[in-house]
């Protein structure tokens, strides 16, 4: 291997100072952006992705409508400034199309598309910074944006990457690690423990797979906790905002009185 940086040093630290199983710092911003029905800005360390969801809405192209369920349309764009080397990727780039189709096939079974026949759900993913785990950030961001837009889903989808350096497994890889060691991205649904996606671009020894897979599934639950608390705090702030203001509160009270009276009958 050509890299001078040690992936895992003798003290058990990785190149960015993390331990083997430590996840990177994660921030989530669910505030309203423009006219999107739901959006999420998510960072995993230095990887940053912005996802905007529009819909369910009337399909722009009639040929794309499906008569018994909604069509999920995913478009990914990668900012030219997102990598170390400035590089403009066209929208037709095979790599980007692959990420888009992976996201689409991950979410199709999870979103309850059958509730919205003939509609279309547009998911626009913008990769703002890349430092490994782009697919993982895209999937987590899409989950949050979909939930934020009130689209019914069976469960969260939480994605984490895992890799193995000689014999020691590691979680949430940076770009440096991702380039050097075999890695796998797993998306799981924490409630049932079902797996929505397993994808690999490198070769991984089959004996190592089981261990990594188990670790990544556990890490998914940690990510789930983070996402859950972000969603709850966003909901709480919206509900409090709606309840504030003397007029509206008065109105609610009156309504409740009426309800109580109705119950008495």
């Amino acid at each position: 291997m050509g890299s001078r940086v040690e992936i895992l040093n003798e003290g058990g630290f990785r190149s960015d100072g993390r331990r083997q199983f430590e996840l990177r710092d994660m921030t989530i911003d669910l505030s309203q952006r423009g006219i999107a029905d739901g959006s999420a800005l998510i960072t995993h360390g230095l990887t940053q992705v912005l996802v905007s969801v529009f819909g369910p809405r009337e399909a722009k192209m009639r040929s794309q409508t499906i008569h018994d369920r909604a069509n999920i349309n995913v478009e990914v764009s990668v900012a030219a400034f997102s990598t170390g080397e400035r590089r403009k990727r066209s929208r037709g780039d095979k790599r980007i199309l692959e990420i888009a189709s992976t996201i689409k096939s991950t979410f199709e079974p999870v979103v309850q598309t059958n509730l919205y026949p003939r509609s279309q759900i547009d998911v626009f993913v913008q990769v703002l910074q890349q430092d490994g785990g782009v697919l993982q950030a895209c999937i987590n961001g899409t989950t949050l944006a979909l939930i934020n837009s009130g689209i019914p889903m069976l469960d969260f989808v939480c994605a984490v990457t895992g890799g193995v350096h000689s014999t020691s497994p590691m979680l949430d890889l940076t770009l440096l690690e991702e380039n050097d060691i075999p890695n796998v991205t797993v998306a799981m649904m924490p409630k049932t423990g079902k797996i929505a996606l397993v994808t690999m671009e490198t070769r991984l020894h089959v004996d190592r797979f089981k261990e990594i897979f188990r670790l990544v599934s556990d890490a998914g639950k940690v990510i789930h906790g983070e996402m859950k608390s972000a969603v709850l705090s966003r909901s709480t702030s919206l509900v409090t905002a709606m309840g504030s203001g003397p007029r509206t509160r008065g109105g609610d009270l009156e309504e409740r009185d009426v309800d109580d009276q109705m119950n008495n009958y």
Binding site: H67, M153, G251
Partner: protein, 287 residues
Amino acid sequence: MDLDNEELLEEGGSRLTFPGETLTSSQAYMRGHGTYVDNEEVIASVAGTIERVNKLVTVRAIRTRYNPEVGDLVVGRITEVVQPRRWKVDANSRQDAVLMLSSVNLPGGVQRRKLESDELQMRNFFEEGDLLVAEVQAFFSDGAMSLHTRSLKYGKLRNGQLVAVPPILVRRLKSHFLTLPCGVDLILGLNGYIWVSKHVKESEQEGEEGFDAEAVYSNQNDDIDESTRTAISRVTNIIRVLSSHFIPMSDMLLLEAYEWTVDQEGNAKDLLQEDFGEALIASINTR
């Protein structure tokens, strides 16, 4: 995590939930919107507040597209004129709504047969991009709504501007046609589209007997004087500020906010500055 019955029984309480959370495993409850059943458990599928009516458990998403109900008043925009005999209307719902030629008032009396000539000149009534106010009449089998404008209150909109807010911020009111004393009419569409326009005096409204098709389907704005224009943009900006702070609309609130902004002697556009908007919200909350 199971909700015990006491928590569920708390009617009007707003407990929050998120997709994948088990609401109850008890057989006594029925699943409503925003939930699904797996393994005999009722599980939430959206993030929002849990509501219970008798045995029915529903989860209402906080931000979502408009869910139409029959009788709702909506404001929409024509997106397409489709044959045979219908318009497609964008009403912020999950599909475009349908307005049939047979559900609009035609020139020459309310009751009359639709002629072939009406069909050919549909664009004279509504064109792509036209705004209209209508009522939800019925649903098609795929869930799309059908609208009608068979009342003198409904029809094409002019003399004002549109502002879109999240649909949950427009509550059901006795009347969705408001008139503010500053010479501004408001139409609060339940789909979150709000039309702010110049006040039209009742007597000048197109009369019952002389249904004036010319005026109803006109594309020409009336003369709007400058003070009315200012008032319209002021009200629009107030609505924008309220919606960005996620505060539900009501006539009292809008009026108070309007008076406050006039007192502050700010321009209508000042409202869009963050600090001014926040001051407005603060003043509303303290009253």
